[in-house]
């Protein structure tokens, strides 16, 4: 028996464990394997192989039996969830019994439980943070000061951008630093019109640029080496892209890691907790020695061991895994002796939406499909506090001109009008992307009495909008109305959609970075202050939220942390 244990321990021992195969886990895997570490990647969901596991990617509209609508009998199996409830995307949907959660207030939590996670499902917008974001908490007196600044992460932004392939313009804006860009998608003429109007009416204070997006517009050797090619402007990204036209773990980092021969990918592995040994590591602090996994098929508990552990399970799950990793030394969760873990949960405020029409530019139209969109970087409270709310918001802008047909009438008239669609007016839309100021009250914690089918305590989500969020939405609706009206757009409608927290799919925080172990969980290298061989580099690590789509920052933080971790191993510190 003892002999068997030694064998199984040896077989299950790696240099590094990565929990999660999504956008940050994929990066951890790639960087660790490239640096020669034998790495196991644990994914709770099923495997998704690039290309062959995108079952709907090449289907035409008429090939969907119900033209996309999901039959009731199937739909009813998914409870109230409407995420991915289309025939095109049903394979990404999750049944309620996979992971029941307790919502103390309504929270929309979109999960990607398959290899690649939400890197297959994201909006692919990739904007850098600036020091206006990193210095925010300190200047405005909320959360804690970030332990890093733009200069610390800038080279790592470059590192991940070159590999992932990011399209965009160099716009020269300090609030949204330029990066390593492939050629940009174009703005439409209506978006150009708005851009000029903003420049004229706001004295250079508001800019409309092309959103930087993780699409290959101009493939380089590094992309061909990954087996990826040019974006085909299909705008069917959420089905998975057989061309690898946009960045996903499946198309990019995971195959790259696999090619090194160092990676073991283990799907159907639901991580229960991290194993902590207080005697290991000698002096004051102990070490994590591995993780406990429930095999989703056999329900068997298996342990894996490694020198370092990267926690990339997505923000809420990374919190939950750490909170469930209790030991004699860490009774409230791994590295959580200050009791702050799970608190200061935040997200982005996407409540404000607007649309309008434009009667001008009648002789112009667009041609093809735009996988990106226009983007107005944050303009509120940048240099100084000037509104009655803290921070600000960026705005996504779409301006296009479509064809439409009258559906009036019957018979040959109706048929003719359906077969001969006419160009409509230009149609503008706008959506706010606001910074949420993290508060202690917004948190996740674990249920003490309810468990899921894997025997893991259920997650309690307790988070709601704050007065700051409400004021920001009001400002957005007023400002976008003014900007659209000044541009000569008509029929302007700006509304507060009152969507649930989490609808933005940008949940962040709970295991925040900071300088002081008393007030934060992670140090400047994303290491748990109190358990140095555990790194958290997904959304959970975010001290504040900025306004930018966060994935690019997770990728950069991850690559930076791996580089540090491997150097520390070589120095014998880990």
């Amino acid at each position: 028996m003892a002999h068997f244990n030694i064998d199984s321990k040896k077989n299950n021992t790696y240099d590094a464990i990565v929990i999660g195969s999504g956008i940050s886990g994929g990066w951890a895997a790639k960087e660790l394997c490239e640096k020669g570490l034998k790495t196991i990647v644990l994914e709770r969901g099923r495997d998704v192989k690039h290309v062959s596991d995108y079952p709907t990617a090449m289907k035409n509209p008429w090939e969907f039996e119900h033209r996309g609508q999901v039959p009731l009998e199937i739909r009813n199996q998914y409870g109230n969830s409407r995420s991915f409830m289309r025939e095109e995307t049903l394979h990404w949907a999750i049944k309620p019994d996979e992971q029941p959660i307790i919502q103390e207030q309504p929270f929309t939590w979109t999960r990607g439980y398959h290899v690649g996670g939400k890197s297959l499902l994201w909006a692919r917008q990739t904007q850098r943070w600036s020091d206006f974001d990193f210095e925010g908490p300190k200047r405005d007196g909320f959360a804690v000061d970030w332990p890093i600044r733009y200069a610390d992460i800038a080279p790592w932004y470059s590192h991940v951008e070159k590999f992932a392939g990011i399209s965009g313009n160099k716009d020269g804006l300090p609030e949204l630093p330029d990066g390593e860009f492939l050629k940009p998608f174009e703005l439409s003429c209506a978006e150009e019109h708005l851009k000029k109007s903003l420049a004229k009416n706001y004295q250079g204070g508001r800019h409309l640029i092309q959103g930087r997006a993780a699409h290959i517009t101009d493939a380089k050797q590094i992309h061909y080496d990954q087996g990826r090619g040019q974006c085909q402007n299909r705008n069917l990204c959420v089905r998975g892209c057989p061309y690898g036209g946009y960045f996903s773990s499946n198309a990019s980092t995971l195959p790259w890691a696999a090619k090194t021969g160092k990676m073991t990918l283990r799907p159907h592995s639901v991580v229960h907790s991290i194993i902590y040994d207080e005697k290991k590591g000698g002096t004051a602090n102990g070490k994590a020695t591995g993780v406990r996994v429930i095999d989703a098929n056999t329900m068997e508990m298996i342990e894996y061991y490694a020198k370092i552990i990267f926690v990339n399970a997505s923000a809420i799950n990374s919190n939950a895994i750490l909170l469930n990793s209790t030991s004699n030394h860490f009774q409230q969760g791994l590295g959580n002796n200050n009791g702050l873990m799970g608190k200061f949960l935040a997200w982005h405020n996407y409540r404000g939406k607007a649309n309008a029409e434009f009667d001008g530019l009648k002789d112009k139209k667009t041609d093809g499909k735009n996988p990106s969109n226009g983007y107005i970087p944050r303009f509120r409270n940048i240099h100084k506090q000037e509104t009655d709310f803290l921070r600000g918001y960026a705005i996504g802008i779409g301006g296009g001109r479509g064809y439409g047909s009258s559906r009036d009438g019957i018979g040959e008239d109706l048929k003719n009008s359906l077969l001969n669609p006419q160009l409509g007016k230009w149609y503008m839309s706008a959506w706010m992307m606001g910074e949420c100021v993290p508060t202690e009250a917004n948190h996740i914690r674990l249920s003490t009495d309810q468990k899921d089918k894997y025997g893991i305590p259920q997650i309690i989500l307790s988070a709601k909008w704050t007065e700051n969020d409400d004021k920001m939405v009001k400002d957005f609706t007023e400002q976008i109305t003014e900007m659209f009206t000044l541009a000569g757009f008509t029929n302007v409608k700006a509304v507060d959609s009152h969507s649930n927290p989490g609808s933005d799919i940008h949940e962040m925080g709970g295991v925040r970075m900071g300088k002081d172990p008393k007030t934060s969980l992670l140090n400047e290298w994303n290491q748990l202050h109190e358990c140095k061989n555990v790194f958290v580099t997904d959304g959970a690590s975010m001290t504040s939220t900025g306004t930018q789509n966060p994935s690019l920052t997770y990728m950069a933080l991850t690559a930076r942390a791996v580089d540090y971790a491997v150097k520390e191993i070589k120095k014998g510190h880990l």
């Binding site: 090449m58 090939e63 150009e192 041609d367 735009n370 996988p371 018979g411 048929k415 077969l419």
Partner: protein, 171 residues
């Protein structure tokens, strides 16, 4: 037992796969036979007549020959609640009643102008059920027709992968 259920559902999904290309290419009346028994034959025939009136045959194929009635039957059967399904069947009966009331004969035997007149009347009817029934059938007819391969490829310039986006070109 579980294994047998699994096998059964597997073979059902294999069947579905085999049927799929039929939806892709064979939008024709032959596929009616292998479809569903949701509607009785006379109801199915009536549905086809209504659909064929909304988007008729001509130099360019109409909704009936593109299999839209089968699509509608499938949608109602698979995607709608029981009460909506019952309303749909009642709506068909109602068309027959209106036809008999106004012209003293079955809808199928009416002339094209008579059929159109009857449906147009339903479209603006103050009877909510009548109006809803016609609205539903018209929407599904338009959906089925405009998303058929024939119409999308030949008339709507459908391209899955344009390979470009130009933000500003001349009309």
């Amino acid at each position: 037992m579980k294994r047998r259920l699994l096998l059964k559902s597997l073979s059902a999904s294999v069947g579905a796969l085999l049927v799929m290309p039929a939806w892709a290419n064979n939008w024709n009346l032959q596929s009616v036979g292998i479809q569903t028994s949701f509607l009785k034959l006379e109801q199915a025939n009536l549905l086809a007549e209504i659909v064929g009136t909304i988007i008729p045959e001509g130099k360019i194929q109409g909704a009936k020959s593109l299999g839209v009635p089968v699509f509608i039957e499938k949608m109602i059967k698979d995607c709608y609640e029981k009460n909506a399904q019952d309303d749909f069947k009642k709506g068909l009966e109602n068309v027959e009643m209106l036809s008999n009331g106004a012209y003293n004969q079955s809808f199928i035997n009416l002339s094209v102008p008579q059929k159109e007149a009857l449906l147009k009347k339903m479209e603006v009817s103050t009877d909510v059920k009548q109006k809803e029934f016609y609205g539903l059938i018209k929407n599904l007819t338009i959906q089925g027709y405009t998303t058929s391969e024939y119409v999308m490829v030949n008339y709507l310039k459908y391209e899955m992968a344009p390979g470009h986006y130009y933000g500003c070109v001349n009309v």
